[in-house]
């Protein structure tokens, strides 16, 4: 057994040894140990180095509030994380850990030179210097500051673990499974209530785990605990351990993170590392207990200086004596009990040093009975020892005067500055706090949420008080839910309630300027830094915090906030509440990114919507592009083809014979009802009344600001039924916009909207042979110019499938869009593909679609328009119904700037040297001007892989419609390109190719 392990104490299983490494050295601990408890059992206190001064540090606490003992933890490759709290990480066989922020070693760290220059690195020092010479900041000062900062190193490999999340609804959520939480659960666990009890520790029990001496209802605390947990489970209470309530959101939503595998030697299959629980509870009981405060004095950070309550925890829960010759330094009764427990476990307590003059006589007699020296009315003024404390310097204080010093030899200093309620989650609710002057602490006051706070987290000390308050609050929340809570009362023996006083920094006889009395241990903020901040005009605790970084370390002020506030208030000569408490910000403890990302990683970061024809495209080797949530085939390269080559081939084949294209992602909305046409008239710019059933029309949708929002071909299937199409990315937005107008402004209209985007697979055939290919499969209509002219639509049968057939063209060729129910899409595609072989049918993707439409001057909303383009700018004034009394955007279009001359208008561009322009390139009239140039527009679309003789481009140019034939210039980094303004149609302006 290790040197500092006490047999018969603790809940760890020494019969099951566990081996792990720390900085490469192998250590043995017991099943149930944390890294900290195992190292302490081996007599190792030195576990880390501080942030700024690289001072040697050991664990100061035993739980998740630990600021010093931060280590790197590793499980083979890919599984490394920095800044893990050694006091939380459970050990398992094979765990590798390392210390941080040191070079070359933890015991000899050259960074500690900063400690010697301590006087320079005062609060806010960097605001006052590093400014000269100016260029040195980037090259010298800043890199130096950055390299010195940080704690551990970042992971550099991808995380092989998985993470999970669940939603949980319950009636009562209890945070903290100490005596308060257990009692609250018991009282609330009545018929019909779903009760959940969570605790961040590996086992429930809280304080009870550290206080085995207590007896509850005649049973030893641990026996009672075991029985009570069984009883709660039997009552249906869901008990979750290793589960931290990280944040309290609106309306009783609490985020929990459950750690599932970090304690296991072998990773089980199908088990995530962590799980985020989004809990919505009708009532919440916060029973998070209290945190012990350090005392602030010179040298209070030396390894071996530790919170007394934590030492008690290490002893009683882990069976570890943190020192054999400890000295107790306290302002609170609780540390006396720590002294007694350690003494009883075989330590030789050197003294109990209490700052108070008046201490419970019973405690004093118990100390005397154990032979422990007691020093009342004393302060501590220093510690000594290099990597481990070896003595404590104490002085009597009388009438405010610090007397002669005395050194007490020791191997540990166990301090207690009293306790502060854990108000973190309560504070997340925007709950108000009230200052309790007697106890020098904030207490919870009111919260807007359905939440109660109980036990030590509202300032009640002792197991008896906690149980009673928990039971009462548990009953109260049950009653708030309309149930009668269980009446539970507990009989407690050997309880340890206590009182104490709170301090700013302890009085000293040493020069205040030289004292290194730490408040925020990790960030190396001293009492002197806080006073300097106040001297410099920082009057609110927020300013003091930000100026000194007090409370901003990875413990988020759990150790430092109240001490910092007490000192700042003293410096300001104000009461604490006038200085304010900094906001407690989520999460309660640092929480892995993976837990938030959950299932949404890699391929499943977001949904990838795929059409029914997608797998065909994939099998054909298509290259895809993301468009909104969809992925669409961009082009279909043959072996050896790059994008340009493939697209050139696809374009040519489509114009020469026939191309096939999956247009299924286009948004589709079915507009049905007696007022369908009136609705369309109001919604779209175009007039719809005269559109006959069986005909379709290009529709343009504006916002009420007058700018183009969306477009698409719209077919009137019957008098009262329109088949509206939208852009792929706009489908949901357009339907929402339509519903908004319909439900809110025009509820008089008798019309309904239904999304049919996914009901239909849409297969587009384009090219001179399109009609020939399709005709044999179509029943119900003849594909002739007469029977089914361009811009017709019909319900018919295609290859035996019920279909909606549109004769439309987005390429300038004869074009059809065949819509069949989605599950038949692939079948239709296969049939057409097969039959198309005789025409050399070519599958094309979005890129070819873009090229072919640009050659015809058809716009793509979002590419050729950008949210500031009107129909007139786009050259589509013809789509605006001039005689309509109103449509969405009509009034917006009449605003002065939308009527202004010289707006940017869509035109074609042909370069003089035949080179291709770059999309996004800016246009000027005068290429010789100096920078900044006056830009008059930009290239919106540009292609050189189509079927035109030379590259084409579309552009928005100031006053462009009036500048046909004029030359504009596109200054590129290496040269300036001249281009002529043309019409936007580059292929077949007479539309002869549309004719069958």
């Amino acid at each position: 057994m290790s040197q500092y392990r006490v047999s018969g104490r603790g809940r760890v299983d020494t019969a099951r040894p566990v081996t792990f490494t720390f900085d490469g050295k192998s250590y043995r601990g017991a099943q149930g140990d944390t890294v900290a408890s195992a190292l302490l059992a081996n007599g190792v206190h030195l576990m880390g180095r501080s942030f700024k001064y690289h001072r040697p540090r050991g664990a100061i606490a035993a739980g998740s509030e630990e600021p010093n003992a931060l280590i790197g933890t590793r499980r083979g490759s890919g599984r490394f994380e920095p800044n893990t709290r050694a006091t939380v990480q459970e050990i398992w066989d094979g765990l590798e850990t390392n210390s941080q922020n040191k070079f070359p070693s933890l015991k000899f760290d050259v960074g500690a030179v900063n400690d010697a220059a301590y006087m320079l690195f005062s609060a806010g020092f960097y605001y006052k210097t590093f400014m000269w010479p100016r260029s040195f900041w980037d090259k010298v000062y800043e890199p130096f500051i950055r390299a010195a900062a940080g704690l551990g190193v970042s992971p550099i490999e991808e995380d092989p673990d998985t993470y999970a999340s669940r939603n949980l609804h319950c009636d009562v959520l209890i945070v903290g499974a100490g005596p308060t939480g257990l009692a609250a659960a018991r009282a609330a666990a009545v018929e019909g209530l779903r009760v959940v009890l969570v605790d961040e520790n590996p086992e429930a029990g809280g304080t009870l785990l550290s206080e085995p001496q207590a007896r509850i209802d005649g049973k030893a605390a641990w026996d009672w605990l075991a029985a009570e947990l069984e009883a709660l489970k039997a009552l249906g209470v869901k008990i979750m351990t290793r589960t931290t309530a990280i944040a309290y959101y609106h309306q009783n939503m609490i985020g929990l993170v459950e750690k599932l595998t970090d304690h296991l030697p072998k990773l089980p299959a199908d088990t995530p590392r962590e799980r985020l629980w989004r809990v919505r509870s009708k009532q919440v009981v916060l029973a998070q207990g209290a945190l012990e405060k350090p005392l602030v004095f010179h040298g209070n950070d030396r390894p071996g200086v530790m919170l007394a309550g934590s030492a008690q925890t290490f002893l009683n829960r882990y069976g570890v004596l943190v020192g054999k010759r400890p000295v107790i330094l306290t302002s609170h009764d609780s540390a006396w009990y720590a002294a007694f427990d350690l003494q009883d476990a075989g330590a030789k307590v050197q003294a109990i040093v209490d700052t108070r003059a008046d201490v419970d006589a019973l405690l004093q007699s118990e100390a005397r009975a154990r032979g422990i020296a007691v020093k009342l009315s004393h302060t501590a003024t220093a510690t000594s020892g290099r990597l481990r404390v070896s003595s404590l310097r104490i002085n009597p204080v009388a009438g405010g005067t610090v007397g002669a010093a005395q050194d007490i030899r020791c191997d540990a200093v166990l301090m207690s500055g009293g306790w502060t309620p854990s108000l973190h989650l309560f504070s997340h609710t925007k709950g108000s706090l009230t200052w309790d002057d007697d106890r020098t602490t904030f207490l919870p006051e009111k919260t807007p949420e359905d939440c109660v706070i109980a036990g030590a987290s509202r300032g009640l000390w002792g197991i008896g008080a906690a149980l009673a308050d928990g039971a009462e609050k548990g009953r109260a929340v049950a009653e708030a839910l309309g149930k009668t809570g269980a009446q539970v009362a507990y009989a407690i023996e050997a309880d340890r309630p206590g009182t104490g006083v709170s301090h700013k920094e302890l009085p000293t006889d040493l020069s205040a300027g030289k004292a290194k009395a730490f408040v925020d241990f990790q960030n190396d903020v001293t009492a002197k830094d806080l006073r300097l901040a106040v001297r410099e005009g920082m009057r609110s605790i927020e300013h003091v915090k930000r100026y000194t970084t007090n409370g901003m370390a990875t413990d988020q002020g759990k150790m430092s906030n109240i001490n910092g506030l007490n000192i700042a208030s003293d410096a300001l000569g104000k009461k604490q509440p006038q200085v304010g408490l900094t906001t407690f910000r989520p999460p309660y403890t640092p929480t892995s990114f993976g837990a938030f990302a959950g299932y949404h990683r890699g391929e499943h970061f977001e949904v990838t919507r795929k059409t029914n024809i997608d797998s065909w495209a994939e099998a054909k080797g298509a290259v895809f592009e993301p468009v909104g949530q969809w992925r669409r085939a961009r082009y279909f390269p043959k072996p050896g083809e790059d994008m340009d080559t493939a697209v050139r081939r696809e374009c040519a084949a489509t114009r020469a014979s026939v191309g096939i294209f999956d247009a299924s992602t286009l948004g589709k909305i079915e507009v049905v009802g007696p007022d369908a046409v009136e609705f369309m008239n109001r919604m779209y710019t175009n007039p719809w009344t005269k559109l006959a059933p069986g005909r379709c029309r290009y529709g343009l949708l504006l916002g009420d600001d007058g700018y183009i929002r969306d477009d698409g071909v719209i077919g009137r299937m019957t008098e009262d039924r329109f088949h509206v199409t939208t852009t792929t990315g706009g489908a949901a937005r357009v339907l929402n916009m339509m519903e908004d107008y319909l439900q809110t402004e025009w509820s008089d209209l008798n019309v309904w909207l239904t999304s049919t985007t996914e009901h239909w697979s849409t297969v587009a055939l384009n090219g001179p042979n399109a009609a020939k290919l399709l005709a044999p499969f179509v029943e119900g209509v003849e594909l002739t110019e007469e029977a089914f002219p361009h811009m017709s639509c019909v319900e018919c049968t295609v290859a035996g499938m019920p279909a909606r057939l549109f004769r439309v063209s987005f390429t300038g060729e004869i074009g059809f869009e065949v819509n069949v129910p989605a599950h038949l899409g692939q079948k239709l595609w296969d049939i057409l593909w097969e039959a198309g072989q005789q025409y050399g049918i070519t599958a094309y993707g979005t890129e070819t679609m873009h090229v072919l439409r640009a050659e015809k001057g058809y716009i793509i909303v979002g590419q050729d328009t950008d949210g500031t383009v009107t129909p007139y700018d786009a050259g589509m004034g013809w789509a605006v119904g001039k005689k309509k009394p109103d449509f969405v955007g009509m009034r917006g279009l009449a605003r002065p700037d939308l009527q202004a001359k010289n707006r940017k208008q869509l035109v074609g561009l042909l370069t003089e040297d035949g080179s291709k322009l770059e999309e996004g390139a800016q246009i000027v009239f005068d290429p010789k001007q100096a920078i900044p140039m006056t830009m008059v527009g930009h290239v919106t679309s540009s292609y050189d892989v189509g079927t035109t003789d030379q590259p084409i481009a579309l552009a928005l140019v100031e006053g462009g419609h009036g500048k046909m034939g004029e030359t504009v210039y596109i200054p590129m980094p290496d040269r300036t390109i001249a281009a002529k303004i043309t019409a936007t149609v580059f292929v077949d302006p007479e539309n002869t190719r549309l004719k069958i």
């Binding site: 999970a164 609804h169 996914e758 599950h823």
Partner: protein
């Protein structure tokens, strides 16, 4: 890489001791919108249209769920589709409504097993306890709009748009295995 939707065949797709996810046979699906006097439509369809959101009624193999104040989703055998369309068309002139075929839009997963309800908590933020057996709701599952039909405590059908199906199945499959591992 997730499996393409075309690889889903009716029957069980994934299972563990905790839960099971299957793929339902195709059926005819309609979105029905109507206001005012519903009696003629009810007569045409041969079932009553529930007026509370979440309520279901059925007649034979036709089943309808109220989704909104003027909205229902109707499931029926595929062979029934033409008759339904014709019947509704017959009353349209006097009782205008919107009947839209959405058979191709959606597919259904069938979820069961001892922890079927818990499986849904992986992606559904609402309290499933508020959907009574025999009811249904439109809601959100892992970012996608879905319709849940609760057929028994741990037995649900989940309708989703086809293009979301493989993504949602990936989560359901992950959950089936995750819950299964917890049972060991």
């Amino acid at each position: 890489m997730t499996a393409p939707i075309s690889s889903f065949m009716p029957g069980v797709l994934t299972a563990s001791a905790a839960a099971r996810v299957g793929f339902a046979h195709r059926c005819a699906r309609f979105s029905l919108r109507a206001r005012g006097d519903l009696a003629p439509l009810e007569a045409a369809l041969g079932l009553s249209l529930p007026d509370r959101i979440g309520q279901r009624t059925s007649a034979g193999e036709r089943e309808v769920l109220c989704l909104g104040p003027d909205e229902w989703v109707l499931h029926a055998p595929e062979s029934d589709a033409t008759a339904i369309t014709a019947a509704c068309a017959g009353v349209y002139a006097d009782h205008p409504h919107s009947l839209v075929d959405i058979s191709g839009r959606e597919v259904s997963f069938v979820i069961d097993g001892p922890r079927g309800a818990e499986l849904l908590t992986l992606g559904c933020a609402r309290d499933l306890d508020t959907i009574a057996v025999g009811e249904g709701r439109r809601t959100l599952f892992d970012g996608a709009t879905v319709i849940l039909w609760r057929d028994a405590d741990n037995n649900f059908r989940l309708d989703c748009w086809t293009s979301f199906a493989t993504h949602l199945f990936h989560l359901l499959d992950t959950g089936v295995r995750e819950l299964g591992a917890e049972n060991h």
